[in-house]
């Protein structure tokens, strides 16, 4: 573009520009502190309305008092001075959305932070696309009963213990809860990696996480080719509490944008404990009365209105779903603290991770006894239901027997058998990170386990056996694999074939 051309363009723009004259509602900053501003005036401002400061920062009106308005500042509050003029915009806080957002890392107000340039509108190109961006409000009332459909399709996480015992369905809200360093993030990263080719869009919301950790996750997703269908919303540990507070709502608005196109979306909130802490900070600064653990009274509503937006819509309302995997970090395994109990009661089940199991080498460190999925079983495929049907019970009985077995060595055969089976089940359910297993493989392995094919394999050989069996049966049990893939269940013919294949492999294994 030549200089003349630019000047011509500018001239035209300036000629066409007409400044609109209108009465504006303004306020004055009375005080600013820690990401909060007290503003006088703004008599007509709505709750959650966006306001703008002179240097271009955005704020959200949260506290509407008699003469003043409590505003949370999204961005750098150090530039805001006492006496600055604040303008109301008349709009609820909204973020730009577009299909081009996939593969990007954005901050809590939708601006890219990955250094890959601005996000262009749908159909537009990065440089001067003509189409304008869509804007979605970050606060929205969750879809009503009439528009919903019950959960019936699975989210395949590729993690054996989850897909078999605590299955997750599309549109479900499944909490992942555990102490620090128990592999909570590992589970969700594995789940995102496994969504490749499963027609799922993933939104990873990082709240109060270290930037180094987020960078690592992003690099891992990039490496696994998962960024093609993933958006990362980041409100890091160094950012102000207001950004951490709105980040999950930004994430779910992006998810809704894709759901409105009839797509299935998986959203991860990592983690909601830090979100609650950020909200507590804001509330205390706004002088709202503290309640239990100094959280404000509406901290339940904070999470319930967020998680209620996860849903599966029926065909008349465009289909699509949002599956939510919130994460909660507990302190010393205390799931009876305020926030954990709140979120447990909101969600449709929880995956409970334990430090003890983690250090025993059982990874993922899922405590099968305390974990549940209240609606997921109706989303499980038939074949998986069949092989995993008794697994949870077996494992629970095994845990009980294991405690008993420590006291005496004289056990009857049935008990011994059950103990041996249980040990093998635990072994089979172990899984290393970044190694998702396809649902067909899972069915084969669990079939071999529950039908007793592994009973005479030494415990330390189980992993090797499992690996070998998966490779061998994929090559030789073609009918069975095809049936699982297409019909989600096997028939007698498939079962016969699989039995023979497992027997053959076992013979060669020894």
């Amino acid at each position: 573009m030549s200089t003349n051309h630019i000047v011509e363009n500018l001239k035209r723009e300036i000629e066409n520009f007409t400044a609109e004259i209108k009465v504006e509602k303004v306020g004055k900053v009375l005080e600013v502190f820690d990401g909060i501003a007290k503003v006088s005036g703004l008599s007509d401002v709505k709750s959650s309305e966006m306001v703008t400061f002179p240097k271009g920062e955005t704020g959200v009106a949260l506290n509407l008092d008699e003469d003043t308005v409590g505003v949370i500042i999204l961005g750098d509050f150090s530039k805001i001075r006492e006496g600055d003029e604040v303008k109301a915009t008349g709009r609820i806080l909204e973020i730009p959305v577009s299909d081009k957002i996939l593969g990007r890392v954005i901050d809590a107000i939708g601006a890219p932070v990955d250094g890959k340039g601005p996000i262009s509108a749908k159909g537009g190109s990065a440089s001067g696309g003509k189409a304008s961006l869509d804007y979605y409000p970050i606060e929205k009332v969750a879809p009503g009963v009439i528009t919903r459909l019950s959960v019936s399709q699975p989210v395949i996480t590729g993690i054996k213990v989850i897909d078999s015992i605590i299955p997750i369905g599309r549109g479900q809200r499944e909490l992942i809860i555990g102490d620090r360093q128990t592999g909570k993030t590992a589970i969700v990263v594995d789940t995102i990696l496994n969504q490749k080719g499963q027609d799922m869009i993933c939104v990873y919301v990082s709240i109060g996480q270290k930037d180094s950790k987020l960078r690592k996750i992003e690099a891992r997703l990039e490496e696994g080719g998962a960024m093609d269908y993933t958006v990362i919303v980041s409100a890091g540990a160094s950012e102000a509490a207001p950004l951490a507070y709105i980040a999950p709502y930004t994430g779910v608005s992006i998810a809704e944008y894709f759901m409105d196109q009839g797509k299935d979306v998986l959203i991860i909130y990592d983690d909601l404990s830090k979100h609650a802490v950020a909200y507590r900070e804001i509330s205390l600064l706004l002088r709202r009365p503290p309640g239990r653990e100094a959280y404000p009274g509406d901290v339940f509503y904070l999470h319930s209105r967020l998680l209620e937006r996860a849903c599966r819509r029926n065909k008349e309302y465009g289909g699509g779903s949002i599956t939510a995997l919130p994460i909660i970090e507990t302190q010393a395994g205390d799931i009876t603290a305020y926030i954990p109990t709140n979120v447990i009661s909101i969600t449709d089940g929880q995956i409970f991770l334990e430090t003890d199991l983690f250090y025993k080498g059982i990874r993922p460190a899922v405590n099968v006894g305390s974990s549940v999925s209240r609606v997921g079983s109706s989303a499980q495929i038939k074949a998986m239901k069949k092989v995993a049907g008794t697994l949870k019970l077996d494992l629970a009985q095994f845990r009980e027997l294991e405690a008993f077995a420590q006291f005496g060595s004289d056990l009857d055969d049935a008990t011994k058998r059950q103990l041996e089976r249980g040990k093998r089940a635990v072994e089979v359910l172990k899984q290393v990170q970044y190694a998702p297993v396809s649902i067909e493989h899972q069915v084969v392995v669990l079939y071999a386990l529950t039908k007793g094919f592994m009973d005479d394999i030494a415990i330390d050989k189980i992993k090797e056996f499992e690996q070998g069996l998966m490779e061998y049966s994929q090559r030789h049990a073609k009918v069975f694999y095809k049936q699982i893939k297409e019909l989600k269940m096997w028939d007698d013919k498939g079962e016969e074939e699989l039995k023979k294949v497992i027997a053959d492999f076992k013979a060669s294994f020894k």
């Binding site: 400044a19 009465v23 504006e24 509602k25 303004v26 005036g41 003469d67």
Partner: protein, 134 residues
């Protein structure tokens, strides 16, 4: 008991003073009341509210006009008439202030509303317009 808002107190004081025709004793009683209720710490805010209540009740309106140079009387009169019509006020108290930073034109502030007709505002809007479409 819910805390009394400044506006409620101001309304009550206004009503009381009006009943007593603003006698000296009435004022003394108001101060006594405030002291008894331990509200003297808030007296500044209450006074501010009272001023607003009085203005509203008496149909008085305060407005501020900012400009680079002092406006001619004719313009001021026009502005006064316009504001009186717009806000339905009986009386208008027009304050004037000068600010060279406005570059040109003038702006009117009434309560928390602003009508900004300054060159500075126009330039800012033009800047926003030009940078937004890029």
């Amino acid at each position: 008991m819910a805390t009394l808002s400044n506006k409620d107190i101001a309304n009550a004081i206004y009503g009381f003073l009006k009943d007593k025709n603003g006698s000296r004793d009435a004022f003394r009683e108001v101060v006594k009341f405030l002291q008894k209720k331990r509200l003297l710490g808030r007296s500044k805010a209450i006074l501010e509210s009272l001023r607003r209540v009085v203005n509203e009740e008496e149909g008085e309106l305060e407005a501020e006009v900012q400009s680079v140079r002092s406006l001619p009387d004719k313009n001021k009169k026009e502005i006064s008439e316009f504001l009186k019509r717009k806000y339905g006020a009986k009386q208008l108290i027009l304050k004037e202030s000068l600010d060279a930073g406005l570059l040109g034109g003038f702006r009117i502030e009434v309560k928390d509303e602003v009508i900004d007709l300054t060159s500075r505002n126009k330039l800012r809007k033009l800047q926003a317009h030009l940078t937004k479409s890029a």
